[in-house]
């Protein structure tokens, strides 16, 4: 051990010895020291229970460390420490205060062994302990643990906790945990029926399983009350499940919207069938990948901002490629939609193969920034952050595009060219430029869709292929040349798909949607929101 560390260690001992040590703390230290002599799991468990029985929040640190396998005994003096392994050495810290004590080699210490049974005991005990924690989230977690593993012995502790609780949401959970504990106690039927009402108000799957257990072991009015509560909980769960399906549908719909909205511009406004549209999405996703690679190697701190850099770059990359395609190929094929379709299909093959040659055929890893990973609960619905942000992002892109089309001079020119090309040209609008820029805009939007899709899908050269048919369906279903139609089309197809899935399975659901669209087009060959005009068919 190096000199400064020895000094620090001595100082820590000194401070521990001379500081304002309460009788409690000295007692705790004695108990903790007995971990070193515990011969088997049973003995260790006895020490754990003794520590927990003190009810002192300070033991949380040592118990957590034990559960995680981070509690060590120093061979030289049988002192117990919390350790953190870093390579060959272990950083030790005080089991109660968490102060850093020093660093030792792995050989100088032994780990205190734990098994799953012991971990469960620790978790349950911590649930009770953390009721007194200063962190509301910890108290909430404790209440939930006690709700799931109710024990009549907890009632007093819970009563005390409810009395001093100030945060309303935590208080509700504590009351629910108390109700659960009452249901397993031998209290009067009135108390139990009141408790059932509290549990029913919670209304989730945990409440349902608790109530089912109550029905199984009780009779008379309690049983009836529990049965009634189960019916109510079930019906509310059905509603929440429907809500969850709607959310999944909106989430899928927003993905479809992102993929299709660029197509709504190029196909709807210009009448160009761009089969390479999916590849624009793919280019956007690969741009994200490249940006993240650069950030990972050069500026790791900026990783959370990677998408902010990727968005404009993806727009530029896909937009430039789109501009090149329009100037190089499509402008020679105007008025020949079927030829355009074939030529752009060829372009899509070339783009795919180029990406495969440059980046390889395998999936590339694109990471989620921290603010996009994880999820949250809304009532009984589980929402993930990345889906949530993508829904918002899709709606944002839609709003911006709507603004560009309706409120800017450029949008005005685009609409003028769509409505009457010759008249627009006579008014001095340079229609070839409007065409080129419109196509670039549609492609650029596809690029930023790729940034979003890289967060939820595999980034591979085939990424675009998966979206091209769906996007066409959305545009054709919603009606060509109408952004609102695309929005309604995407959302209704997404929600329809997700509602069919539970009954028909994912694949059959998708087939049904395709068949429905084919039938729908027979009925309304121009989609939901058809443009009205006098244009004569060719």
């Amino acid at each position: 051990m190096k000199m400064p560390q020895v000094l620090a260690f001595l100082f820590a001992l000194f401070a521990a010895g001379l500081g304002p040590v309460s009788a409690d703390e000295a007692g705790l230290r004695q108990t903790i020291a007995r971990f070193a002599t515990a011969k088997d799991f049973k003995a260790t468990e006895a020490v754990v229970r003794e520590l927990a029985a003190t009810g002192d929040p300070a033991v949380e640190l040592v118990l957590l460390a034990l559960a995680d396998g981070n509690l060590f005994v120093r061979k030289s003096d049988s002192a117990v420490f919390v350790g953190k392994e870093t390579g060959q050495s272990v950083t030790l810290s005080d089991p109660l205060t968490g102060e850093k004590v020093g660093e030792v080699a792995k050989a100088e210490i032994t780990k205190i062994k734990v098994n799953n049974g012991l971990r469960r005991v620790i978790r349950d005990l911590l649930g009770g302990l953390t009721l007194g924690s200063t962190d509301p989230a910890a108290r909430l977690a404790a209440a939930d643990t006690m709700f799931r593993t109710p024990d009549a012995a907890n009632i007093e502790a819970l009563d005390a906790a409810i009395g001093r609780e100030t945060v309303a949401s935590v208080k509700t959970r504590l009351e629910q945990a108390r109700a659960a504990s009452i249901l397993v106690s031998d209290r009067s039927d009135e108390d139990k029926i009141a408790a059932i009402a509290v549990v029913q108000a919670r209304g989730d799957r945990d409440a349902l399983s608790l109530l089912t257990a109550v029905v199984a072991r009780s009779e008379g009015p309690v049983r009836e009350a529990a049965e009634g509560a189960i019916v109510l909980v079930n019906s509310s769960l059905v509603l929440w499940a429907a809500g969850q399906n709607v959310w999944y549908g909106i989430s899928l719909g927003s993905v479809l919207l992102l993929a299709a909205i660029g197509l709504a511009i190029t196909f709807g406004v210009m009448g160009v069938i761009n089969m390479a549209h999916g590849e624009m999405v793919m280019l956007g996703a690969y741009t994200t990948y490249v940006v993240q690679e650069v950030i990972r190697t050069s500026f790791p701190g900026l990783f959370d901002w990677s998408l902010a850099f990727a968005l404009p770059l993806a727009f530029l990359v896909a937009g430039t490629v789109g501009l090149a395609i329009e100037r190089g190929i499509i402008r020679f094929l105007y008025g020949r939609p079927l030829e355009t379709l074939l030529a752009t299909w060829g372009v899509s093959l070339i783009l795919q193969q180029s990406v495969r040659t440059i980046f390889g055929p395998t999936n590339r890893e694109v990471g989620n920034p921290s603010w996009m990973s994880g999820g949250f609960d809304l009532g009984q619905m589980a929402l993930t952050w990345n889906r949530f942000w993508i829904v918002l992002f899709a709606l944002g892109v839609f709003a911006v595009l709507l603004y560009v089309m309706k409120r800017t001079p450029w949008g005005l020119q685009m609409r003028a060219v769509t409505a009457n090309r010759r008249m627009a040209a006579s008014m001095g609008i340079r229609t070839p430029w409007v065409d080129a820029l419109t196509f670039a805009l549609g492609s650029g939007i596809a690029g930023i869709a790729g940034v979003a899709l890289s967060q939820i899908d595999n980034v591979s050269p085939n990424l675009g292929q998966g979206y091209i048919i769906d996007s066409f369906m959305v545009v054709v279903f919603g009606g060509v040349g109408n952004l609102w139609g695309t929005l309604v089309g995407a959302m209704s197809l997404g929600i329809l798909n997700k509602f069919l899935e539970p009954y028909a399975g994912a694949v059959l659901g998708k087939i049904l949607v395709l068949v429905l669209i084919i039938l729908f087009i027979q009925k309304r060959p121009r989609g939901l929101f058809a443009l009205k005009g006098r244009a004569v068919e060719a």
């Binding site: 060829g346 372009v347 066409f472 369906m473 040349g481 027979q522 009925k523 068919e537 060719a538």
Partner: protein, 406 residues
């Protein structure tokens, strides 16, 4: 009499030539394969017979697409679906012919059903142990699907790009459906491990030669039928629907019926192509429904020259030979080549290689005509059904420009 008509014009001479070549090939190649000793330089190896037989099926498929696209203006991006359905009908027959020689030795159920623990044959497999029934289904199933689909689509006047997209959706939906195991068509793996066809071993070189001859004859027959359809009054109506659908309707014809007929005939031809294809390659799986396969068929037709009878056959043979070469020698370049082909053909060769050949010959003829004294006025009136680019039918002097998809 009929030969007189064959020689009536350039296009017809070309059709006759195609039919003759196919008939000769149908006889010659099996003979060269079977009767000529393997060490002779004229011997055609069996793998070559199977390969070219496969190409002939593709050519038949391309011709079927040409009938609707080149002559009737319906760009179907789902013709692979009819091809695959015909193939599945044939595959089901071949599957039943395996009998108890499968891995599980079940006399009634194909292997994949035993594997899925099915107890009895699904109803739609009944009858496929008879060749005549399977042959009927090869024609009926694609035909009925095309008829039903076309009936709805053409009546509600779904045209142009919209039609292309929903045909693509059709084949995509079928792709997803056939991938499912509980559809009863072998799921992901499809149908394979065939043994016999009509009692002959499917691996034997005699059977392969017979299948080759059957493909060549079928293609020759299809060329003849297409030629008769196109040359008839009905064919003129098809071309008028292609070039000016509204005008045809205003003149009192029913474009939807014309299109429906062409679409159904074409689907039947595609189904027969599929049925001949399956025994030669020995497998049919849902991958044949892939929309990209159907689009590839379009490029064969476009390369050869749509709106001609010889064009799609040349296109299918050329592109597939190129594909076999590239995927063997330079696999990573094949998609570049195919993509480039799409772009170049649409930009520079709107009439395909056949159109290029005609253009080159016309120019040569004109140059000769200018050099010599003009021959006495016996220039044949060549009536050829080559499609003019739609742009040419628009108002005179209108520059090509985007049209909103209305």
């Amino acid at each position: 009499m009929i030969t007189g008509r064959f020689f009536a014009s350039g296009a017809d001479r070309r059709v006759l030539f195609t039919i003759l070549v196919l008939l000769v090939v149908a006889v010659l190649v099996p003979v060269l394969n079977l009767a000529v000793p393997p060490d002779s330089m004229f011997h055609v190896p069996t793998f070559m017979v199977a390969l070219v037989g496969k190409y002939l099926c593709y050519a038949l498929l391309a011709l079927a697409l040409d009938l609707v696209w080149g002559y009737c203006g319906i760009l179907s991006l789902g013709h692979g679906a009819f091809f695959a359905l015909g193939g599945y009908a044939m595959g089901m027959y071949l599957m039943r012919q395996i009998g108890d020689r499968g891995v599980y030795g079940n006399p009634l159920l194909p292997d994949f059903m035993v594997f899925l623990n099915w107890k009895e044959l699904p109803w739609f497999w009944y009858g496929f142990d008879q060749f005549w029934f399977a042959a009927l289904m090869v024609v009926l199933v694609p035909g009925a699907l095309a008829f039903a689909f076309g009936w709805f689509a053409f009546r509600s006047r779904v045209t142009g790009v919209y039609l292309s997209i929903i045909t693509q959706a059709l084949t995509y939906a079928l792709l997803l459906a056939f991938f499912r195991n509980d559809m009863g068509f072998g799921g992901n793996n499809g149908l394979t491990d065939f043994k016999d066809i009509l009692g002959f071993n499917i691996q034997a070189s005699t059977t392969r030669s017979a299948l080759f001859a059957a493909s060549a004859l079928a293609l020759a027959l299809a060329v003849y039928i297409t030629w008769r359809i196109v040359g008839s009054k009905f064919g003129k109506l098809m071309i008028s629907v292609r070039d000016a659908e509204s005008r045809t309707r205003f003149l009192g014809w029913r474009p939807e019926n014309i299109k429906l007929f062409a679409f159904t005939v074409s689907a039947v031809m595609a189904g027969i192509a599929g049925a001949l294809y399956v025994p030669q390659v020995g497998i049919i799986n849902p991958g044949e429904f892939d929309p990209s396969n159907s689009i590839e068929v379009v490029v064969w037709t476009a390369v050869g020259g749509r709106g001609t009878i010889m064009g799609p056959i040349i296109g299918a043979l050329l592109v597939n030979t190129g594909k076999s070469y590239f995927t063997g020698a330079l696999p990573e370049l094949w998609l570049f080549a195919l993509g480039g082909l799409f772009v170049c053909v649409t930009l520079f060769l709107p009439k395909g290689v056949l159109g290029l050949w005609d253009q080159w010959r016309d120019r040569g003829a004109r140059r000769r005509a200018e050099a010599d004294t003009p021959p006495p006025g016996d220039a044949p009136a060549i009536v050829r059904a080559t499609p003019a680019a739609p742009a040419e039918h628009r108002a005179l002097g209108a520059a090509p420009e985007p049209q909103p998809a209305e």
